[in-house]
């Protein structure tokens, strides 16, 4: 019945668009690929050079003090990290950590200002919200393709893909946190003659901080969940071990690498949650 509308060549339009962007912005993508790629590699290399014992101790001490001098998380960190070292996955762990670190940093540095913008303008909110929905629901594999076109294969497109997937929560939570600040406090700050900037930094951000930190926590967890997918385009780390176990149907190796990711996730999650609590 709808035959009179010819099938629209959307797919080829998108192909053309990706090609055009790749060629036109080569001058931007290439240096990013080289320099950022170098930074990621060097960071992971340096982290791997630190003896595991020292890293484990540092994490344990950090866990002990951040969780209010309780032993639970510290003990868990020691056992978990020793397990990873024992399974000879240490340098993979460092690569995964680097990937998570940089993609979360990027997400937070860009996401919080975008969230602030969104909270201040209803127009901005109505434009940004569907973009965030798109970023979160579009299957991750789909944007691996342009990521490779832009940045080649390796860690950089991995960070890019993680960034796309992990940024929405921190943007949303920042927006929510600022919008939730009670009218009376906003009025109080206005009534005493605060400028917009003073209001933001002296009232709104401090009030929204717990919510924003919850968003940061979610962002870190999501970028961690991307490590396996990122390994499909050549990002090193624990994800690659999971992927190769999958390809060779090695249940045991897959379990070990997957378990290492879980351990890392729990440690990072509890640490960032405590960071939130200790600052309230």
């Amino acid at each position: 019945m709808l035959d009179f509308i010819p099938s629209l060549p959307i797919a080829s339009w998108v192909d053309d668009a990706v090609k055009w962007v790749t060629n036109t912005f080569e001058f931007f993508f290439d240096p990013v690929k080289d320099n950022f790629g170098w930074l990621l590699d060097i960071s992971a290399e340096y982290l791997s050079m630190i003896p595991p014992v020292i890293v484990i101790l540092l994490v344990a001490v950090l866990a002990f003090f951040m969780s209010g001098k309780k032993l639970g998380l510290a003990v868990f960190s020691i056992i978990g990290l020793l397990f990873i070292e024992n399974q000879e996955l240490w340098s993979e762990l460092m690569y995964t950590f680097t990937l998570v670190l940089y993609s979360s940093l990027l997400a937070v540095v860009i996401g919080i200002p975008v969230g602030i913008l969104m909270s201040k303008s209803n127009t901005a909110e109505s434009i940004i919200r569907p973009i965030l929905d798109f970023m979160q629901t579009m299957p991750a594999f789909v944007y691996l393709i342009p990521a490779v076109a832009f940045f080649g294969i390796g860690m950089v497109p991995g960070v890019f893909a993680s960034f796309i997937f992990a940024t929405p929560p921190v943007v949303r939570f920042t927006n929510l946190g600022i919008r939730q600040v009670s009218t009376e406090l906003v009025e109080a700050s206005d009534a005493f003659g605060a400028t917009g900037q003073q209001k933001l930094f002296k009232v709104e951000l401090p009030m929204a901080k717990p919510t924003i930190m919850a968003g940061v926590n979610q962002t870190i967890m999501l970028s961690l969940s991307m490590v396996v997918i990122a390994s499909m385009i050549g990002a090193s780390g624990l994800g690659r071990d999971v992927l190769s176990a999958l390809q060779r149907a090695e249940a045991g190796a897959g379990f070990v690498a997957g378990f290492a990711i879980v351990i890392l996730a729990i440690i990072i999650d509890r640490l960032t949650q405590n960071f939130n609590k200790s600052n309230q």
Binding site: E184, E187, A188, A191, F192, G193, A194, T195, V203, P206
Partner: protein, 400 residues
């Protein structure tokens, strides 16, 4: 020369406000305008002047536009039409920069739910206004400390708001508003969130402060008693319009129209004629913690012949009288539980006062006012009679 002059000030909420405004000028009512344009009339052509050092109360029921009106005075809400003059400066035509200067230097505001920043200490809250002006740290903390001492919070400056009671929190709100010595104080239902006894204390304290400071105060309230206590003049609002402005005496004696008359009657009757409104703060001992010695000491301090006994959740348990306590102490009895009596007259806090007469006249102890079994206050014969005299004195018929 008035400090604040409000002329033809209107606020209409909604998209078609211009259209609604012209309908308003044609004399249509709030309901008709809502039906025709979907716009809500917040404030309808308000007009008044406030003189220096005056306490000007704006009173109305909820939805009468009083909170909107006070926010138009410092432009937290932008007016749809009309002018607000502070001395000779027209706030309505000011740009952001000029407006900010007026808010920083001339007027400050006290909020119903206190509006304190929970992550700042009492001192940090109090310096806020001066901090945003860029006053240096030492000077602003000195001024803030003075303001806090003025409201009796000198020793709480490093606490957080959540550590203070409601009354104390509102003192911080008051100190914050006073710290920079503004000319005008806007108080939006400042005491409405406090319980009745604390509210009365705060009203008295505000009057004491006002005697010293002579600020120009705009005070918003829905409580006629409060308006009568503190107002030099009262403006009564209904549906966004000011229906009468006058001294408390004028409002009570010559209500401008049926609405005012009804308002004055209704509010007065319901306010005056319940136990809650005339009760006094009770002296108590807690029988979980206190023994005969503490009870005796308290009675001596306050000159009482009996004292009410509660448990640690403020549940009323009874009373003890001085003779029993003295005897108990001499006999080395350590618990009040053995000498407690429970034949005291008790009323709920909503009890009308004519019913209190029946229980108070032959009672040896004051009447206990309770709420869900918890002791809230006491009533003695003197206050009951004074309350009745007051009702008659106000010219309101006494149907008690």
């Amino acid at each position: 020369m008035p400090v604040i002059e409000v002329d033809n000030l209107s606020k209409i909420f909604g998209k078609r406000s211009k259209e609604a405004l012209s309908l308003l000028d044609e004399g249509l009512s709030k309901d008709e305008i809502l039906k025709k344009t979907g716009c809500t009339v917040g404030v309808n052509r308000a007009k008044f002047q406030v003189e220096a050092g005056e306490v000007f109360v704006i009173m109305g029921l909820s939805g009468s536009g009083k909170s909107t009106l006070v926010r138009l005075l410092n432009r937290l809400i932008n007016p749809t039409a009309g002018d607000v003059y502070v001395h000779d400066d027209n706030l309505s035509t000011m740009n952001k920069e000029e407006l900010r200067r007026v808010r920083r230097e001339k007027m400050s505001m006290v909020f119903q739910k206190f509006g304190l920043f929970p992550f700042r200490t009492v001192l940090e809250n109090t310096v806020f206004g001066m901090e945003v002006q860029g006053m240096d740290k030492e000077e602003r903390e000195k001024k803030a400390t003075e303001a806090l001492e003025l409201v009796g919070l000198g020793s709480f400056i490093h606490q957080y708001p959540s550590q203070l009671s409601g009354g104390m929190q509102q003192r911080v709100g008051l100190a914050r508003a006073l710290a920079n010595d503004p000319e005008i104080l806007l108080m939006d239902e400042a005491f409405s969130a406090l319980d009745p006894l604390i509210r009365k204390d705060m009203q008295d304290e505000l009057m004491d402060l006002q005697e010293k400071m002579q600020k120009t105060i705009i005070f918003i309230t829905h409580d006629l008693d409060e308006a009568l206590r503190i107002g030099d003049r009262i403006a009564l609002m209904k549906d966004g319009s000011i229906v009468q402005i006058g001294t408390p005496e004028e409002i009570l004696m010559n209500p401008a129209n049926d609405y005012v008359e009804k308002f004055v009657e209704d509010v007065d009757r319901s306010k005056v004629l319940t136990a809650e409104n005339i009760m006094l703060r009770p002296e108590t001992v807690d029988f979980d913690k206190h023994g005969p010695r503490v009870a005796l000491e308290r009675m001596r301090e306050q000159g009482l012949s009996s004292i009410y006994v509660i448990d640690r959740t403020r549940q009323l348990k009874g009373y003890v009288n001085a003779n029993d306590v003295l005897e108990a102490r001499n006999n080395q009895i350590t618990s009040l539980k053995e000498i407690i009596r429970d034949d005291m007259p008790t009323v709920e806090k909503e009890t009308p006062i004519q019913e209190i007469f029946d229980v108070i006249h032959d009672s040896p102890v004051p009447v206990a006012v309770t709420e869900e079994g918890k002791l809230r206050g006491i009533i003695i014969k003197g206050t009951l009679i004074a309350a009745l005299a007051n009702v008659n004195g106000n010219g309101v018929e006494d149907n008690a």
